[in-house]
């Protein structure tokens, strides 16, 4: 869907149209879920967080103002990232998340995830900010500027973070392979 059509739905949702907001949910819920699941790896937690992200975006929808370089999805990812960071701070040490679920078992294509199991294992041990920058830049294929907006960093800051994350991932892979 074109960004202009997305903005039309956003404008309708801003007027209180929950159906339009439902359409926005249909467009982005899966992406947000993938973004969260790749880090948290717990189905129920991620479903709850997706719910939280969209509820937050609904209640703050009037504060969203479209800008030329900021898509609606960037704003959603921003909320998702803050929600993830909050959850990470609060819940990470608990036993629940230490029992990390097998990614392949929860993927739409288990064989595909089995193939890249070693990569997921290496990423899992990286700091959250490294995981986020790698996910946004390479898996979600977002630009440096979009990633910078989501992570509340400068473009240079994102490039530095990306460089460090790739170095850290290479080191992890050396140990695994």
């Amino acid at each position: 869907m074109q960004e202009s059509e997305v903005q039309k739905l956003v404008a309708e949702a801003q007027q209180g149209d929950s159906q339009a907001f439902g359409s926005l949910y249909d467009l982005y819920a899966k992406q947000i879920y993938n973004f969260l699941f790749s880090k948290l790896r717990h189905q129920q937690t991620c479903e709850d967080l997706v719910h939280t992200v969209f509820l937050k975006s609904w209640t703050n929808l009037r504060s969203y103002t479209p800008r030329p370089n900021a898509k609606f999805s960037t704003w959603l990812y921003q909320i998702a990232n803050y929600t993830l960071i909050d959850h990470w701070r609060m819940k990470r040490p608990t036993a629940e998340l230490e029992e990390i679920e097998n990614l392949a078992a929860f993927s739409t294509d288990p064989e595909h995830y089995e193939e890249y199991g070693y990569l997921w294992k290496a990423i899992q041990d990286l700091p959250l900010s490294y995981q986020t920058v790698l996910d946004l830049r390479f898996r979600q294929d977002l630009s440096v500027e979009e990633t910078a907006a989501i992570m509340n960093k400068s473009a240079v800051g994102v490039r530095v973070l990306q460089h460090r994350a790739l170095q850290a991932l290479k080191n992890k892979l050396k140990n695994i392979i």
Partner: protein, 234 residues
């Protein structure tokens, strides 16, 4: 450039891209839950409180404070007969209603009377209003200070009472110095009715001065001898 991906980094980035895929997610039931939550909220999206609105309120408040304080600052120098004098009097009344210690209030009253008496020097011709304000401010100040002094003495707070006595002493000295000025104003008055009114005010000013003196120890003996009476008890 350091931020350009090296061939190894590019290979790793491609590997990451290829590893991307979807996870199982029951979108329908999650959507149902979300829409139910939205309906429970039973509200449209909360109105945003843009920073511009905050800035607008802040600017308006700052402008109001600046305007009010500037007006009061100008008014504080207003003399009887000036347009802002009423505001000046209002400001003085507000200050006197504040819960200040009696010594502090007495000093404020002395300041007010001093301002009124000094205004007499700035009168070019006859100015009944200035004389009237001098008379009224002095009478109010002397009444309030003597009343408080008597109350403090009855409570045994002699030190505070002495402070008020000093204020009364300063007031009566200032009035004494200005009596001739008022007489000059009276002489300059154009007609007899005005002169008569100025004389009436001068009489009241003298009465207030006498009342103040009755509460000042250094005058009590001579006043008592001349008038054959004790200091007035309010």
């Amino acid at each position: 450039m350091w931020f350009k991906l090296s061939p190894k980094d590019k290979a790793l980035a491609n590997l990451l891209k290829r590893s991307a895929g979807d996870f199982n997610f029951d979108e329908t039931s999650a959507k149902f839950r979300l829409l139910a939550s939205i309906n429970r909220l039973d509200q449209k999206p909360a109105p945003s409180f843009h920073i511009t609105r905050v800035m607008w309120y802040s600017t308006a408040f700052a402008a109001l404070v600046i305007t009010a304080s500037t007006t009061f600052a100008f008014a504080s120098n207003a003399l009887p007969g000036d347009k802002l004098f009423a505001l000046n009097k209002f400001g003085e009344k507000v200050i006197l209603t504040l819960p200040l210690p009696v010594e502090q209030k007495a000093k404020v009253q002395e300041y007010i009377v001093t301002n009124r008496l000094e205004a007499l020097d700035k009168v070019d011709t006859e100015d009944l209003e200035t004389v009237k304000e001098s008379d009224e401010s002095l009478m109010t100040a002397v009444d309030a200070i003597t009343q408080n002094k008597t109350r403090l003495e009855s409570m045994g707070k002699t030190k505070q009472a002495e402070t008020l006595e000093k204020v009364l002493d300063q007031l009566q000295t200032k009035v004494e110095n200005k009596e001739n000025t008022i007489k000059e104003i009276e002489k300059r008055a154009k007609d007899e009715p005005t002169r008569e009114k100025i004389r009436e005010h001068l009489k009241k000013i003298e009465d207030s001065k006498q009342k103040a003196r009755l509460h000042i120890k250094r005058f009590q003996n001579q006043e008592g001898q001349s008038h054959g009476q004790k200091p007035e008890q309010d």
